[in-house]
Amino acid sequence: MSALSVVAAVLQVVGVLAGAPLIVGGMRQIRARLEGRAGGGVLQPWRDLQKQFRKQQITPTGTTVVFLVAPAVVAGSTLLIAAIVPIIALGSPLDPVADLFGVVGLLFLGTVALTLAGLDTGTAFGGMGSSREITIAALVEPTILLAVFALSVPGHSANLAAIVSGTARNPGQVLTPGSLLALVALVIVIIAEAGRLPVDNPTTHLELTMIHEAMVLEYAGPKLALVEWASAMRLTVMLALIANLFLPWGIAGAHPTVFAVALGILAVTVKVVVLASFLAAGEVFIAKLRLFRVPELLAGSFLLALLAVTASYFLAAATT
């Protein structure tokens, strides 16, 4: 661990904080253009945040401290993930502290906090959103864990830096059946976890179809801003993670130079922008799934992930 890798970790957090609203804004802009609308511009989410943070703090009656702290827990856990995962450089000082299992745990800690907040309001909407969100999360978590471990089998480690540097050294690894199956499974669950189409529609306000929006319905003003900022950050971090797990090129090493860090920033920005553009463009062409069809999609991705783990075990067995 060098001083520069600490700097890189800090840059990761700052970059995710600053870049996440831009990514969301960019995705909205792409959708708008493809749908023939003018769109609010890439900076619109930032303007929204600024507006929301200046609004009045509102506490709905009957809510407890759970409702109060949940946005901070979601945002905090996402910031911590941004500091742990290799986005710009490999040698994050927090890398030995949490492997992929820990990162997934932190991700779900945020989900659980929001779910409890939704229940805490004691409204039908809050309960409905929480119930749906946690059901999806309960099916997403096993898939993520399986996919993660399919990836960690070739590198013999679930620590993120080890997986990413293993793939960087041996790029052919990406094209093994295990990795490809894991990639598909991960993409599906990240779409589900980030609440994008076809699982959830982030722009909907129709009560029968809402998931995430129903859960956070009682939030307004600064707290809503924090929740929205956090969900943008979650999407960005997950896109960056998937980009670096499968396409690690350009990422700075464990002992980076200034140039390598700059290159890392550039590389990850390009990768995330490309991925986000694909996601946004794809969303134009699909409709939201019926809620009770979503588990079928997730069960499919669970199966893919299970196949990925089995395949990587058997293929590892064949090569050793």
């Binding site: 200046r54 945002a75 927090l94 949490a98 299992f101 096993p142 898939t143 471990f149 299970l306």
Partner: protein
């Protein structure tokens, strides 16, 4: 699961003769205090054995012919210490609980006896002593389950428990008698003769002990007593049963099958893994759709014991596949999960007991709003629920992480069995951890947050100090598991050293501030994660102060009610509706019995007067395995009944005939 509503489950049982308040307080203090004292002695003894080395004690006069013999080694020591620790928390809690619930004298006397029985089981050094201690534990727990015997549900649960625990005992009895016939009465004699025992005997003993001990640990399909007896017992007893007694099943499997008889063939480990995986997934699935708070926790016990058994099986399988280092990780995972389960399940059951005692309710559909009425209990139960969900900052996190690591680092290509078993286990454990989160979010979110869903929940008051003190102790233990499993490191290392067949010869995982795995690349630090998360949350709080100068002063506003007047608490999501999407997803496994009845107005069938929706979830395993067995036994009993029609003469001739046969055979 039943939809029966328990409106007033607490029927005060009058003791013999009137008891004044002071007298009751005195008796409750004596009973709880004695339990806690015995627990403290157990904890001290257990730890001294773990660190001080094995001890041997034989009391010849206590039992004719064989005597009583105790053999304390670090493996037994850690179980004694865990049972003792649970008993301290439960004993202190029971002081307030027994008083509040007006316990009769009988359960008060039996409580310390139950704890003593549980402490003696892991200390036993011979087959006879082991069986005696086992029966003391089983008998005392049965008496305690029947504390509120005036309720039908309790009596039915008691009967179920009595039959299953005794059948399990018969299995263990036969197995141990066979074992002692082959090796001798004391465990040390069996260990020295272990090599001479024939494979057939080994297999028989393994199968029988797995049935007996598996039933005690609540493994499928012998779990049926657990979700009945644990919820119906008084909550301190539920905590003892779920956090300490089920451990004895695991202890039996480790001591008899893996330590004395081990290393077994491949299929032993595989069998343990299969039973463990099925129990874990089934347990957590039932827990996520349960609406009875204590039943939810009981199913969660089946889930966690399943995980422990899975880890044990993995350790045995890996060890027999020539991977002792990874086997040591699996074994550490099993022990750590067992201990952390004891901590968080004690806390959760005690919390549920406080809720039951304050509201008279176990039905999550009727609870809610306790966070404002019972803040301390809410926080404490929350710590327990976080532990049970296996998330970071929770007590179960480190052990589940170790289990995942052991499964993932198993040697690839050693054999096809491993290459198939490990990915499937990872799938089972992953599914379990996902659904476990849902179950605990439901228990905490629906039970404690939001607004009260019934008058009982509305009138809840905070538990008395002694109950809170017991729970605080358990919560402190949870925090140790959550952020500083490093403190458990030396204990587990000593236990692992006496289990040479389970990877004890290899170096175990180093539970430092950063958990590191020897030989394989993997590390995690629950403590640093906790610290970093607190810093990160504070950072986001500071970030959220952006624009604070422009904000108008904060206000409290009503909830958004779509423009309607006010929301009634009936409009909230209940536990049933919360789990409904999941129930739909697992429709084929859970097989809910749903009944929708629509009543139309007489004038027009397009106008609906009312809709009744009823759903009933029965344990599908119970329906499919137990009902046919019970039916067969009943039919057989009918048949046998013809042989005893009440005629003394007939009975006398039976006796004579029996005597003749004995004489003929013994001649």
């Amino acid at each position: 699961m039943t939809t029966a509503v328990l409106t007033s489950p607490i029927v005060p049982v009058p003791g013999p003769g009137p008891r004044t308040d002071g007298r009751l307080t005195g008796e409750a203090t004596l009973s709880g205090g004695l339990t806690a004292l015995i627990g403290a002695l157990g904890l001290a003894l257990g730890l001294s054995v773990v660190f001080g080395g094995a001890r041997h004690l034989r009391i010849g006069w206590l039992l004719p012919l064989v005597g009583v013999s105790f053999d304390l080694d670090p493996l037994g020591g850690v179980f004694i210490a865990a049972t003792g620790a649970v008993s301290i928390a439960v004993g202190i809690y029971a002081i307030g609980y027994a008083k509040r619930e007006h316990w009769a004298r009988f359960p008060m006397v039996t409580l310390p006896l139950f704890v003593t029985g549980m402490l003696l089981v892991p200390a036993a050094g011979s087959v006879t002593t082991f069986l005696l201690a086992w029966e003391l534990m089983a008998g005392a727990s049965l008496v305690l389950v029947l504390t509120e015997h005036r309720r039908d549900a309790v009596r039915s649960a008691g009967a179920f428990y009595a039959i299953m625990t005794q059948l399990g005992f018969v299995a263990i009895l036969i197995a141990l008698v066979v074992l002692s016939a082959a090796g001798g009465d004391t465990f040390s004699a069996i260990a020295t003769h272990a090599a001479d025992i024939t494979p057939g005997t080994r297999t028989a003993v393994f199968v029988l002990t797995l049935l007996g001990f598996g039933s005690k640990a609540g493994l499928l399909p012998l779990h049926a007593w657990l979700p009945r007896a644990h919820p119906e017992a008084p909550s301190p007893v539920s905590a003892l049963m779920s956090a300490a007694m089920v451990n004895m099943g695991i202890f039996g499997i480790i001591r008899i099958d893996l330590q004395l008889l081990g290393p077994g063939p491949h299929w032993w480990g595989l069998t343990l893994m299969i039973f463990g995986a099925i129990s874990a997934v089934f347990g957590v699935l039932q827990a996520s759709v349960a609406t009875d708070l204590k039943q939810l926790l009981a199913y969660s016990t089946t889930e966690n014991m399943g995980l422990v058994t899975l880890a044990l099986g993995a350790a045995a399988l890996l060890s027999s596949s020539g991977a002792p280092a990874v086997a040591a990780i699996a074994m550490t995972a099993a022990l750590l999960h067992l201990l952390s389960h004891s901590a968080f399940k004690t806390l959760a059951f005690l919390g549920a007991g406080s809720v039951l005692s304050a509201t008279g309710l176990r039905d999550l559909d009727k609870l809610g709003g306790l966070a404002r009425r019972m803040p301390a209990t809410t926080v404490l139960f929350g710590i327990g629920a976080l532990g049970a969900s296996g998330l970071p900052l929770g007590a179960g996190f480190a052990s589940e992480w170790l289990l995942f690591q052991s499964l993932i680092h198993s040697p690839h290509g050693a054999n096809t069995v491993l290459a198939l078993a490990m990915p499937l286990s990872v799938g089972a454990v992953a599914l379990t951890s996902g659904l476990g989160i849902l179950a605990m979010v439901k228990a905490f979110g629906v039970g404690f947050l939001a607004r009260p869903r019934s008058a009982g929940a509305e009138a809840a008051r905070e538990a008395p100090a002694s109950m809170l003190a017991g729970m605080t102790l358990a919560a402190a233990a949870c925090m140790v598991f959550a952020v500083a499993p490093v403190l458990l490191g030396p204990t587990l290392a000593h236990v692992l050293a006496v289990l040479p067949t389970l990877g004890g010869s290899a170096e175990g995982p180093r539970l430092g501030t950063i958990l590191r795995l020897p030989g394989v690349d993997g590390s995690i630090s629950p403590g640093v994660i906790a610290g970093a998360l607190i810093i990160a949350v504070l950072t986001s709080v500071i970030l959220a102060r952006w624009g604070v100068r422009h904000r108008p002063p904060a206000v409290v506003t009503p909830l958004w009610a779509c423009g309607a007047d006010a929301l009634s608490s009936r409009m909230q999501y209940t536990a049933t509706s919360f789990a409904e999407p999941l129930q739909r997803v697992f429709d084929d496994v859970l097989r809910p019995d749903t009944d929708v009845e629509v009543t139309h107005f007489a004038e027009s069938q397009y106008l609906i007067e009312k809709v009744t929706y009823q759903t009933r979830l029965d344990d599908p395993v119970e329906q499919r395995f137990y009902v046919p067995v019970v039916r067969a036994v009943t039919a057989w009993a009918q048949y046998v009944r013809r042989a005893h029609n009440g005629s003394i003469h007939l009975y006398l001739s039976y006796g004579a005939l029996g005597m003749l046969i004995v004489l003929l055979v013994a001649r």
